[in-house]
């Protein structure tokens, strides 16, 4: 089973090396596309194995858990890797037309693949320190992508992005140290058992809050999100699309993993904090978006507000709420990456992302209008698109708990999302172009047009499929939530059966 787990890490790294070697020619970008397609296939195979067996775990270097580094995929990890593959492939194709040769020569494709490897690693690892390492892999690649090209605006956004993310990294590292000091283990499955035996649960809660802050910065929750709207609109469109789709979601994934598997000792305390965070994140994000006048900056603030919904699912901590969080996570990555890609096409044909400087897209490029409406309405939660079901499940979960206020907040934020989407629609699509330009998709070369529109259309179709046939996806999310809330399978698979663990220990002690 090991190779299934290792493939989503090995493929992007190998692709990165090849893409770097061929960075001067046109081969580099095709290597990146082929590598991303291979990653998607590998993630599909992994998903198949996980669906058949429940949880798949492998010990790297054959050191028995909890001593070695474990790679483990349950349904949540597997679906996140699949979605990484889908977004990665979509953005790799989009990059064929979006990334200038100058950036390619600087190693764009290699950095992009390393980023994918880091993201997959973070989803698949079963070891806390290893998670830290994958976070760093992802972080250093994202640093490079963010400032690649070195425009002044990028450097400005980059400084804020880098410094705040480094603070989070250090808190994460400090938290790892303290948790190791209390429990003596770093294997997540082993931690699940070890934290229950710690005598001073209060100290564990302190460590839990440290992790909450560290992952909170990565996930861009209130009040730790300011690096995101400061930087996400500065790099190339392909870069901001992959960032918007995947990076913050790794933080959310880490929060979900830690606060369902390890820090469940004081749910009343930790998850109440998360509930407040969720509420404020939704509101501040959507209000920030309402105040912005740039296509990509509006979308950046919407990432923040949408993160709030996922945290809400985790905070409510009922089976239905976790189903909502998982469903939301999957739907959001597709929709958000897609919206950034649309913004990129709008900039390409209309000349800017500043809403006051563009217009007339509906009249001259109606196809783009349609392709914008699908993810935009899905984001706002219009039936029958995917966002409706995600919001519906979460609102129902909060109503079931009789938490009227947070349910109201979730609904109002949905309404306000429509407000800023109509703002984009009104300025970019309906009003005539201020410079009298007629932005047409036909102004692009056929090759560019295909590379730009194909990923957008595919992701939009995916959004519609999830929206129109939500049942298999909800059922899947239900199974994933069940695994998260009852991790016995996860723990047993990672540590092996009791006999297996004892054997491993005897093997180590006996040295035979």
């Amino acid at each position: 089973m090991s190779w299934l787990l290792a493939a989503p890490l090995v493929i992007p790294f190998a692709t990165a090396v090849l893409a770097f070697l061929f960075r001067n020619g046109p081969e580099g970008r095709w290597i990146s596309v082929i590598g991303s397609a291979a990653l998607l296939v590998a993630s599909g195979l992994l998903m198949q194995a996980v669906l058949a067996e429940g949880v798949v775990a492998g010990q790297m270097g054959n050191w028995p858990a909890p001593f070695g580094i474990t790679l483990v995929a349950d349904l949540l990890s597997a679906v996140m890797v699949v979605i990484t593959g889908i977004t990665g492939l979509a953005v790799a194709i989009y990059a064929l037309a979006d990334i200038e040769e100058r950036l390619e020569k600087l190693g764009y494709h290699a950095l992009f693949q390393v980023l994918l490897a880091g993201v997959c690693g973070a989803f698949l690892t079963g070891d806390l320190f290893n998670l830290y390492v994958w976070f760093e892999v992802m972080l250093i690649a994202s640093f490079g992508l963010l400032i690649l090209g070195g425009r002044r605006q990028q450097l400005d956004g980059g400084i804020k992005y880098v410094t705040i993310n480094l603070v989070s990294t250090i808190l994460f590292l400090g938290g790892i140290g303290l948790l190791y000091g209390k429990t003596g283990t770093l294997n997540l499955a082993d931690l699940h058992l070890a934290v229950q035996e710690v005598d001073n649960q209060g100290l564990l809660t302190v460590v839990a809050v440290m992790f909450m802050v560290a992952f909170g910065v990565k996930a861009a929750v209130f009040p730790l999100f300011f690096w995101l709207p400061a930087s996400y609109h500065t790099p190339s469109v392909a870069v901001s699309a992959i960032f918007a789709g995947l990076l913050t979601k790794v933080g959310v994934y880490a929060l979900i993993r830690m606060f369902t598997l390890v820090f469940t000792g004081d749910v009343d305390y930790t998850h109440t904090i998360l509930l407040w965070i969720a509420g404020f994140t939704m509101i501040t994000g959507v209000l920030g978006a309402a105040a912005m006048n740039d296509f990509r900056r509006i979308l950046s603030f919407h990432i923040v507000s949408q993160i709030g919904y996922m945290i809400l699912g985790l905070a409510l901590y009922t089976p239905l709420a976790i189903v909502g969080a998982v469903f939301y996570l999957v739907h959001h990555i597709i929709v958000k990456a897609n919206l950034f890609l649309v913004a990129g096409v709008a900039r390409r044909i209309a000349g800017s992302t500043e809403l006051s400087a563009i217009g007339g897209l509906y009249k001259t490029a109606p196809v783009l209008g349609l392709l914008f409406l699908i993810p935009a309405f899905s984001l706002a939660g219009f039936p029958p698109l995917s966002g409706f079901w995600a919001k519906y499940i979460l609102v129902k979960a909060s109503l079931d708990l009789e938490m009227w206020i947070i349910a109201a907040v979730a609904l109002v934020v949905g309404l306000l999302t429509i407000y800023s989407m109509t703002k984009i629609w009104g300025s970019a699509f309906w009003k005539p172009h201020p410079a009298g330009m007629e932005p047409k998709l036909g102004s692009l070369t056929t090759r560019d047009r295909t590379a730009l529109i194909l990923p957008i259309a595919s992701l939009a179709v995916l959004t519609c499929i999830i929206g129109l046939y939500p049942e298999p996806f909800v059922q899947f999310a239900e199974r994933a939530a069940e695994q998260l809330l009852n991790p016995t399978d996860y723990v047993a698979t990672v540590l092996g059966t009791q006999a297996g663990a004892a054997e491993g220990l005897a093997y180590l002690e006996g040295g035979s």
């Binding site: 760093e136 804020k160 410094t163 250090i170």
Partner: protein
């Protein structure tokens, strides 16, 4: 010994936080470097300190005869130092490039990506 190092970690965290409150980005980074080293020491102390007993297994034996130093936190710290070194080298270069192109180190004046309303 653990207590002493723990207090030192606290002092380093406090000094680092103080530096990070500055508007000057370079001071901020210096504070960050200090805190990152404090975090490394946290891991080191968390593994408990055992002086003068290297984790060596005598010839012919299968496990160490007496209590030995915990090698795992040392490996973790080593990894964290290497990663931290790379990140800070990058951060310092970035700040330098930022200073070259924006002409300032004050975070208040770095408003290119998010211009003030009246400047737009």
């Amino acid at each position: 010994m653990e207590l002493l190092i723990s207090i030192m970690v606290g002092v380093m965290f406090a000094t680092g936080t103080y530096l990070m409150l500055a508007r000057n980005v370079l001071r901020f980074i210096f504070g960050l470097i200090l805190i990152s080293n404090a975090a490394n020491l946290v891991i080191f102390v968390a593994g408990r300190l055992t002086a003068e007993s290297p984790p060596l297994i005598p010839d012919g034996a299968d496990f160490p005869a007496e209590v030995v130093a915990n090698a795992l936190p040392q490996a973790l710290v080593l990894t964290a130092i290497v990663i931290g070194f790379g990140l800070f080298a990058f951060a310092l270069t970035l700040v330098y490039r930022g200073y070259q192109s924006m002409g300032t180190l004050m975070s208040d004046q770095m408003r290119l990506a998010e211009p003030r309303e009246e400047d737009q």
